[in-house]
Amino acid sequence: MLEVNELHVFYGDFQALFGIDFRIEAGQTVSIIGANGAGKSTFLKTLCGQLRPRSGSILFEGRPIDDRPPSTIAGLGISMVPEGRRLFPSLSVEENILSGRFSGRNGPWTLERVYRLFPALQLHRNAPAMTLSGGQQQMAAIGRALMANPRLLICDEISLGLAPAVIKDIYAALPQLLQEGVALILVEQDVNTALSVSDYAYCFMHGRVSLQGQPGTLSKTEISDAYFGIQ
């Protein structure tokens, strides 16, 4: 579904990604793990159109998207739950969730279905978005991304700053997303949680893919070497 080839991304003169190759199929869950500054967020931003690659290609369902603006890419079916949630403070909880519909895509996800997935949100539907707890804000951000009825959902560090029980709740909701063949990219610093739900994993280090494979086949040593870069 998504195919990335030889992606090089620069911030001005500073190179952040060096020739990334990446693949994900419909219905798959792929995690990207790595330390801070490894290039994970840069990669996601490029996928969503917030950054332009210097060279390389990104094909989504066969079409190149590396030169499209973010709003067009959202309309094509890629939705992101951004790092730090990034709900709109001026909007209520319900308005935030509904803002996902600006992508103009129709599909199985409706407001009612999001509320069934995250009942806590319905209780606070008219409250200002920032009055929610961290975990609830994360649910709202996921709900917002789901309302765009994506084919590819990207979750950037959704467990950051949340209590373990809350993380468990959120991850428990993830399998429902994959029912319609939606692909899921999970970016996490928490290696174990991410690997436990993934079909495939990539490890980033210093802007390169340092390790990839099915979680079951990767040993703990391999992973920590690829994560921390110990020679």
Binding site: P70, S71, A74, P82, P89, S90, L91, M130
Partner: protein, 288 residues
């Protein structure tokens, strides 16, 4: 000094300033853009209305929808083709580009229409007055201007709170990057915001053109009044802008009663005082 009359007339004058200021408030609220040519575009609207009124014999109020439509299109195009290119973290380019536009507009209007003072022919609307009882009478035109200003404020407030476009405006204003991520086409949204701002500016230009004579060099004054109204009322609140405009009108009215040279200066002084003691404005909406 008849305080009631001064306050009443000042309040109504504030209606005109509110129509000026709403456009500035909207553009700044949605995209952090300060359009230095703001006042000059209001003057342009008055001249457009003049041309239409003279050419077709229509009363300016009837010509108003046409002028508003033209200005909406102009604002949309301007934002889409020129201003969207210079929007960004650096404040200098949009400031300088709109500054250049102001110079072009002022001198262009001067070349085409000369420096003669013009007025929009409003007929009896400009001269009739309405009695409010107790010996107090106000002009029909200032009253109409004020009520139009309140209506515009109401309309825009409703737009922001209850429509999908309003959600898009608020979301883009909060976080343009994330707004793009959810599929909001920011370039189009910015252009729509500017178009609406220009339409309200057209209303302001037509009403003020009927009320007093205008010349090509009035743009800067209109910009300053708009700006003062927005700052006094508090950035970010459209009802605050209306309140700020009313306060400005009243301050000027009080000043005028002391002498012709003091009217505008008093408005400036009140503005500076608000800036000194309550920089966030008198009615600013505090965000969490």
């Amino acid at each position: 000094m008849d305080w009631l009359a001064v306050v009443m007339h000042g309040t109504l004058a504030g209606g005109g300033y509110a129509l000026f200021a709403i456009g500035l408030s909207l553009a700044y609220g949605v995209m952090r853009l300060v359009n230095i040519a703001h006042g000059d575009f209001i003057v342009l609207a008055a001249y457009i209305a003049l041309v239409i009124a003279v050419a077709s014999g229509l009363h300016p109020l009837l010509a108003l929808p046409i002028v508003a439509a033209i200005m909406f299109g102009l604002g949309y195009l301007l934002q889409r083709t020129v201003l969207n290119r210079v929007l960004g973290p650096d404040i200098l380019p949009p400031l300088l580009v709109t500054f250049g536009l102001a110079i072009i507009l002022q001198n262009g209007l001067l070349e085409v229409f000369s420096a003669d003072a013009r007025v929009l022919p409003a007929g009896t609307l400009a001269t009739d007055s309405v009695s409010l009882g107790g010996g107090l009478a106000v002009g029909l035109l200032p009253l109409a201007t004020f009520m139009t200003a309140v209506a515009c404020t109401l309309g825009l407030s409703w737009l922001f709170r209850y429509t999908r476009l309003g959600v898009a405006f608020r979301a883009t204003s909060d976080d343009p990057h994330t707004a793009q991520l959810v599929g909001i086409k920011d370039k189009h949204i910015y252009a729509l915001a500017m178009g609406i701002a220009f339409a309200v500016m057209a209303v302001g230009g037509v009403f003020m053109g009927m009320r007093a004579s205008f010349t090509p060099d009035l743009g800067p004054s209109y910009l300053i009044y708009s700006f003062e109204a927005v700052v006094i009322g508090g950035v970010g609140s459209i009802w605050g802008t209306l309140a700020g405009a009313i306060l400005l009108g009243v301050a000027q009215g009080v000043g005028y009663s002391f002498g012709p040279g003091w009217g505008i200066l008093t408005g400036h002084i009140v503005f500076l005082l608000v800036l000194l003691f309550r920089p966030a404005g008198l009615f600013s909406r505090s965000q969490p």
